[in-house]
Amino acid sequence: MDNSEKIVWNSDYDTGVEEMDEQHRILVNTINEAREKLSKDASLEALENITRDLLSYALYHFETEEEMMQEHDYKAYSQEEYETHMKQHRDFSAQVVAVRESIKLGNPITKEDLIEFLMSWLINHINNTDKKLARFVNSRIK
């Protein structure tokens, strides 16, 4: 994906679980905002603020999804999917922490690398992982 372009939300990204979709839109906005801010001001402070927002977002969003998994006992449905999903969440936080560490050590990640990581993670996570969870959750509700 070309990371010079804003992500425009389209129905392809909808999982069908409204709470999840709303939160995904927040992440899309955060990434779009990050790109816009960093193109004006690529200072360490800006990077730190953005990565802090991401940490905060991660705690918020992952908790929502993991709550869903627990509520509907996703693990019993598919241990493998459950573990993949959890692992992707942990990886995201770990990556963001690593980015912050690299800022601290004085060799920060470039804006392009950061945005690319965020976008590919998000798109991959939504399409390959969240949609499976959403299908399962929706099948349980109906």
Partner: protein
């Protein structure tokens, strides 16, 4: 003349005439009344100029030479309708003055006539009108007119200082019902109370205005972060929805819907900002009232999400979801655990055990939360000390706190309170250490800080974390009250393969010893690093090479059972001379290289850089060249060492090429071969060490003999 005088006294204006020297020609009754001077007192214009201070229409004081009367005497030209303010003691008056020159028949200036009209009563009415024009008479809050003034001012201020301005449009929920059921007087009383509550919630420089009806606007100026704005808004909602007592009725049905637009995130024009805030306000109304919405949907959601996260952290503190893991610090001379650093973990019910890197940045960004968290940490540290001491384990605990704590006046009394509540003896505090980040410490840790002094009096010690990454200068180090500095792990981790990092580590150790401060090296991951640290005189070592952070029960076992690597003893017993040290370093470097190379050989994608250096370029090789140049002769052992070292490099290089070509990992035979070579090299090094020791003995013997000879005069 008398007739003229009487005529002048009847006039409504005050009339005075002065000669060219400023002497009084006449002054009518009205003038005497205006200037509050008797006819006798007014001898000259000086009498007036010394009793009254005059101001121009811009409120600048006029020096006497600038007064119209004096100016007309000088210029001989009339000055008409000059507005002046005059002040004497408590009295302020406004006049409009006209001064005309009078000429005699020859056209020579005879004097001047000044006619003044007192407009004081008009002025005071004007002020009243201005208030009516700018303020709401019911609540005494600024009205729409003054609001737009204040908003423009806030925006230009924000432009200059790159701050954010929040425009909050507030509409009361449930107000109409009060008007309908309790009457308009009750409605008015409610609005007055609402205005008071709003003013209580905001800061002094913020503006609260009433637009009319139950519509209010708050301008939050100078916000550094949007989170700050959210905190105020939640407080506002809370305050406005609390019960009211109106005419002895309790009113519980009032709340507020708030719409917020942000400058500069949103458009620049103040009117548009207000309109956007209005749109957002309707959104708040429609989505259930008693809430706020931001105009920008994206930031609205983000701010709320962040606020929820912070709220969860707050709840987690209260519910005891945080705990400490402990990482030991070893005294390098004795090999004993002397202290443990307390590192926070969040045992999140869903997400598992979270590391501090994931939540501390959020906590540190919020003053209130950071305060709560530090309070928890200090208490937890003290309680753990107490628990361990009751089991006979006397070990220091180091707790990380935010330097902001040291600004709080009640910091020490809070600590004493914890002791009191848990019946813990004050002696225990000498086992407590506070660790503060270097980057933030300088301004907080100075001698002059009495909170620090009080802590030190209680026996609490201080450590400076991440030393080397911040901006502490030597000057500062002298002024800071600290007992320990911790060398940042980035330097320690890189000290064996980057000579600059090694130099920094050595410099910090030297620096600390000059200031009589203890040094802890953090992040020692390999035994080689530990050994080198011991060699260069580091007092205390912490890192994965010793132990990872662990839960408190495991920590207890660790303290009781820990025995250091036997190599420690060797390293700390043979006190190093410089040559010994360099030898040891060369040895360590070589071992490290072998370790890295073996590790690379088992990987799919080998990093080429480890295989490029020749035997003369590597650290060991450079050490050897230096030795060769220093000594006039090369012992057979040294010669042999050079040869084996060279062969080893060649071997590694060849193997690298083979493995790369065949795209496979190292097999066990190849592994064995390299380790054997490395072993042979180590044995040789041991022999060379012995040679050195022999040589040292020779030298000291020779010195003794020389001394003796000197003594006997030979």
């Amino acid at each position: 003349m008398n007739f003229n005088k009487n005529l002048l006294d009847f006039m409504q204006e005050s009339i005075q005439a002065w000669d060219t020297e400023g002497k009084k020609l006449f002054s009518n009754k009205k003038a005497n009344l205006l200037y509050e001077l008797s006819d006798e007192e007014i001898e000259s214009f000086d009498a007036i100029a010394s009793k009254w201070t005059f101001f121009d229409s811009r409120d600048n004081v006029l020096p006497s030479t600038e007064l119209p009367t004096i100016k007309v005497i000088q210029t001989k030209k009339p000055l008409v309708n000059v507005a002046l303010k005059m002040v004497s003691g408590e009295t302020t008056k406004w006049i409009v003055q006209s001064v005309n020159p009078i000429f005699d028949a020859n056209g020579e200036l005879e004097g001047v006539v000044s006619a003044d009209i007192d407009i004081t009563h008009l002025k005071s009415q004007e002020t009243k009108y201005k208030n009516i024009a700018n303020y709401d008479p019911l609540t005494k809050l600024p009205n729409r007119l003054l609001l737009s003034d204040r908003l423009s001012l806030a925006i230009s201020h924000a432009k200059r200082y790159e701050n954010t301005v929040a425009v909050c449009m507030i509409d009361l929920d449930g107000f109409k019902a009060i008007n309908d059921t309790l009457g308009h007087d009750a409605g008015d009383a409610l609005l007055i109370e609402v205005a008071k509550r709003m003013q209580k919630v905001v800061r002094g420089d913020d503006t609260v205005a009433r637009l009319g009806g139950d519509e209010f606007v708050i301008i939050l100026a100078d916000i550094a972060k949007t989170d700050e704005c959210a905190v105020t808004l939640y407080r506002l909602l809370n305050s406005l929805s609390s019960p009211y007592i109106i005419n002895e009725h309790e009113v519980k049905t009032i709340s507020a819907s708030i719409g917020v637009s942000l400058y500069p995130d949103d458009k620049v024009d103040p009117d548009i900002l207000l309109r956007h805030a209005d749109v957002a306000m309707y959104k708040a109304k429609n989505s259930g009232k008693n809430r706020f919405c931001f105009f920008d949907i994206a930031s609205d959601q983000k701010i709320k999400a962040n606020f929820k996260t912070l709220g969860k952290i707050k709840k987690a503190i209260v519910q005891g979801e945080f705990c400490f893991y402990y990482q030991p610090k070893i005294n390098s001379a004795t090999g004993k655990v002397i202290e443990v650093e307390a590192l926070a973990r969040w045992k999140h019910p869903l997400l598992g055990v979270l590391s501090p890197d994931e939540f501390l940045p959020l906590i540190e960004n919020d003053n209130e939360l950071s305060n709560d968290f530090d309070e928890w940490a200090i208490k937890e540290g003290i309680l753990q000390l107490d628990a361990w001491q009751k089991e006979g384990i006397f070990i220091k605990i180091c707790v990380n706190i935010s330097p902001k704590q040291l600004k709080q006046e009640n910091f020490v009394s809070k600590i004493k309170q914890i002791l009191l509540e848990n019946s813990i003896d004050r002696e225990l505090l000498s086992y407590l250490e506070f660790e503060i980040l270097e980057t933030a410490a300088v301004e907080h840790l100075s001698n002059s800080n009495h909170v620090i002094q009080e802590c030190e009096e209680l026996g609490i010690s201080f450590a400076l974390d991440d030393f080397g990454t911040g901006h502490s200068s030597l000057m500062h180090l002298k002024e800071l009250v600290i007992d320990t500095i911790k060398i940042d792990k980035s330097f320690v981790m890189g000290m064996l393969d980057c000579s600059e990092n090694m130099a920094i580590v050595q410099a910090v150790i030297g620096l600390a010893s000059a200031f009589d401060i203890a040094v802890t090296a953090e992040g020692a991951e390999h035994i080689e690093q530990v050994l080198s640290l011991i060699e260069i005189g580091c007092d205390e070592i912490q890192g994965y090479a010793i132990a990872r952070p662990m839960p408190r029960d495991e920590m207890k076992d660790f303290i009781l059972k820990f025995t250091p690597d036997p190599r420690w003893k060797l390293a700390s017993q043979t006190l190093p001379s410089k040559t010994d040290f360099e030898l040891l370093l060369a040895e360590t470097n070589h071992k490290y290289w072998i370790e890295v190379v073996m590790n690379e050989f088992s990987k799919d994608d080998m990093n080429e850089k480890f295989f490029q250096t020749t035997h003369k370029e590597c650290k060991f090789g450079r050490w050897f060249e230096k030795i060769k140049n220093q000594n006039n002769f090369i012992t057979p052992n040294l010669k042999n060492l050079d040869l084996i070292h060279q062969q080893e490099h060649e071997k590694v290089h060849r193997l690298y090429e083979v493995l790369k070509k065949e795209k496979r990992a190292i097999n066990s035979d190849e592994k064995k071969e390299i380790l054997q070579m490395s072993g042979a090299l180590m044995t040789l090094l041991g022999k060379i060490k012995k040679e050195y020791e022999q040589e040292k003995k020779h030298i000291s013997l020779a010195n003794k003999i020389l001394e003796k000879r000197k003594y006997h005069g030979q």
